[in-house]
Symmetry: C2
Subunit: 533 residues, 2 copies
Amino acid sequence: MKIALAQLNYRIGDFEKNIEKIIDFAQIARLSDADLVVFSELAVCGYPPFDLLKMNDFIRKCEQAVDTIAEKCFDIPILLGTPQKNSSGKGNPLFNTAVFLHQGKRKYFGKTTLSENIVLNEKHYFEPTTTIETLDFKGKKIAISIGEAVDLAIFSSKNPDLTIILSASCFDYTQAEKRAETIRNKALQLQCPLLFVNQVGAQTGFIFDGGSMAVSANGIIAQSLPFFEEKMDFVDIETLSDFKLKTDRHNHTSKVERIYHALILGIRDYFEKSGFRKAVLGLSGGIDSALVMTLTAKALGAQNVLGVLMPSRFSTDHSVNDAVALAKKLGCPHKTISIEPAFKIFQESLNPIFENRPFDITEENLQARIRAVLLMAISNKFGNMLLNTSNKSECAVGYGTLYGDTCGGLSVLGDLYKTEVFEMARWINRNEEIIPWNTINKPPSAELRPDQKDCDSLPDYNILDQILFQHIENEKSAEEISNLGFEITLVKRVLRMVASNEYKRYQAAPTLRVSPKAFGYERHFPIVMKLYN
Amino acid sequence: MKIALAQLNYRIGDFEKNIEKIIDFAQIARLSDADLVVFSELAVCGYPPFDLLKMNDFIRKCEQAVDTIAEKCFDIPILLGTPQKNSSGKGNPLFNTAVFLHQGKRKYFGKTTLSENIVLNEKHYFEPTTTIETLDFKGKKIAISIGEAVDLAIFSSKNPDLTIILSASCFDYTQAEKRAETIRNKALQLQCPLLFVNQVGAQTGFIFDGGSMAVSANGIIAQSLPFFEEKMDFVDIETLSDFKLKTDRHNHTSKVERIYHALILGIRDYFEKSGFRKAVLGLSGGIDSALVMTLTAKALGAQNVLGVLMPSRFSTDHSVNDAVALAKKLGCPHKTISIEPAFKIFQESLNPIFENRPFDITEENLQARIRAVLLMAISNKFGNMLLNTSNKSECAVGYGTLYGDTCGGLSVLGDLYKTEVFEMARWINRNEEIIPWNTINKPPSAELRPDQKDCDSLPDYNILDQILFQHIENEKSAEEISNLGFEITLVKRVLRMVASNEYKRYQAAPTLRVSPKAFGYERHFPIVMKLYN
């Protein structure tokens, strides 16, 4: 038996495009003599649809999509993710199902173990299925699971010959190994081969990475589909059952490399799916905007990324030179607008109220906000989406101007600590200087007052990022972090900064999620609270 | 037996202040010969603490707070809400409990029915208690529930003489009746008197409204504490058991009046708890900013609310006059800064790039963003928090400039439709003209281009708000709304506007929640999706 694994990129709510794609791939699979074509979880509507699932006409469109696919692919056996109404009157109104379609026959298989993820919140929308039936197909007994958290108690009692998983499993840099381990173990425990078909493509900040695979009954990854790409591949189940390999055919890449590809997919899909073709960003000569421009040039094409230099009296020559050098190297257009005239006018306009009060954080923020106004005007006039260039360290401690640095339709680096930003820049330069080494090697500065350096008000990023990681990713409190060898006064100061800047993060741009704990996703703190004296 | 119901306002994570307040009220209750003092759910730490519950030192501080209170109130019997560690090793690591404290004795009572609210997300933090014990106290068998969703199956088997509910039940304009009905029914079904002690005070956008009460065994509200105020009151249980009244002693106010008080509490607490004393807002002469100024003057004192007029070439005389008239009537300071110089400079700075392209939405947004920059500069320089003045109708359809109208530390009206804004303005003027009638009666306009009116690009607010209410609050799709008598093309246009502006709402300010479905809370849609062609 030959099964096609269709690892595709869907658009949430765009039934026309999703149906067309599903039918196209089903027909290609048929031409390649596939016996069965498997699409991923909630393929008809795209995952995650969130509250669209509460709208009756959305569910009706899902049903109509299944009808259309069943009709157009009448002779092609298909397994397809779709929501299905729960008509029992008990529990949530929907099941998250796979439907098997063939020659007018339909059979539904419900999700037994709903996702525990508090953002995806499946338990709010779906009722879990408590029992399963198998699919008898071409002499095989096939068990079908939605999601890789296969409930062994339910599934092993069925003694399947083959288990197929339809999934929508989200990327973070720890996932590839965890997921492979889970699936490998499920195959071993069920003692049957296992096919895993994942969604690929970004849905705003959620990046689905693909990496579908076929695992033999002895827990070896016999075949795997690429990460971050649409791909259909074919698995011969007989070969898979006989599989004698002792090592996986599965390549894991480094953390920095996989994040790089995730971000490029994230940028490309956010633009493509929201109908934008061009980007604009402020180019400061610093590392963050340099990395965002490099990634975006790769994702959208260099000609579609406009860099805007907006020097002030505090900008250094090297910043301007580094910014121009990068744009030229990448082939991106760039423009320069001085913020001095606007800065002066604002100071004059405000002077009757400010009455010669001294320069302080107000004037620093003013410069950042003038830049945001200029960038948004360009965005509005030409339809270039503004990209946000803040990193996770800055977001954490609030080192950035609200409505200045926080502006943008998408935060590209908001889930990368500053040290990870440096690491990626160096990795990009591994063969050739793309990002000017001067940008990477000079001390970070916001250049909002004379001779300003980040390290004037923040600890060294190597220290800061370790404290932040322990607090954010590992949920550690001040004392526990201090026990790892950091000075308690510093740790408390950092954690207080994190706590007191929740209000800025509340208004931040949606972030491409690449870690297991990104701002705006799994983390939820009160905006007003007291943390440490 | 005389029981004190302590309906207090707590600060999340501020143990010092919470402990002091709890001890003070316990001692006052003792001086009034109370036999028992009841505080609300999670009183030691304030509700909702969200991920603070994941930090070990936060839980340790809760334990230490209970120790301190037990010690300082050794002779005073107390029931107090606190998290408690789940040491079973199974399920979530905490219970949400009431602890009974008296003369060194301690007894814990866990929450059986965790909140279903997807924002409060109690099921993520707490393990429900599956069995309960009663408290034998002064010859009475007392059942203790955390939250008003008392599990009758568990509680009625105990045949309590009295049930006490410690709660943290959040306001929305539908809650008072619903909650009274729930509690009344629980008393009837348990056939015993029932005390309900609620938290009061706002925690960012969550407004806890108090309204604690004592209900007789025959389901009559015998005694009730005020809404939106800290208050301790005493209940004589014997009198309560004998209660013969046939009607409630409980006043329900109108929707507009309760929202008014909720907003004032919400503003006051957000400022107070985040350490701000003064507010600033842009005063356009329109209804939204007029209402926000009126509410804030009431909440913080008129002298603490600075109105800033920022006229442009498109501002009408009546706008400026109406704005000044309001500030004078309320006694608020006001300043005027023309945005013309900055508007001209930005146009000049951008002209090398814009190359004489015609005036469009870019220049409209530019004006709104210049105003935001001025307001934030004043906020930064003087420490006045900027208030956001957008209403729910605008937020829904995206009628407002991102990083312009969307700026502010708190959205005061973000959960009121435009028609509700008008209703409240008229209600405020019921005895006397506070808000100029001209502001209320003139057609709404953003005044960003000549002779602009909201109705040029939006349907009449009476129609728009009904469509929005059906879609947002009632989760209806286009066809269902159209069946209520609205033109389908219009309905689809409105719903598409709502869908395509999710990206603006993602970056909006935290909103004072007054409806059962506020933006930023219960509602969750994808930012990028397709909804209707």
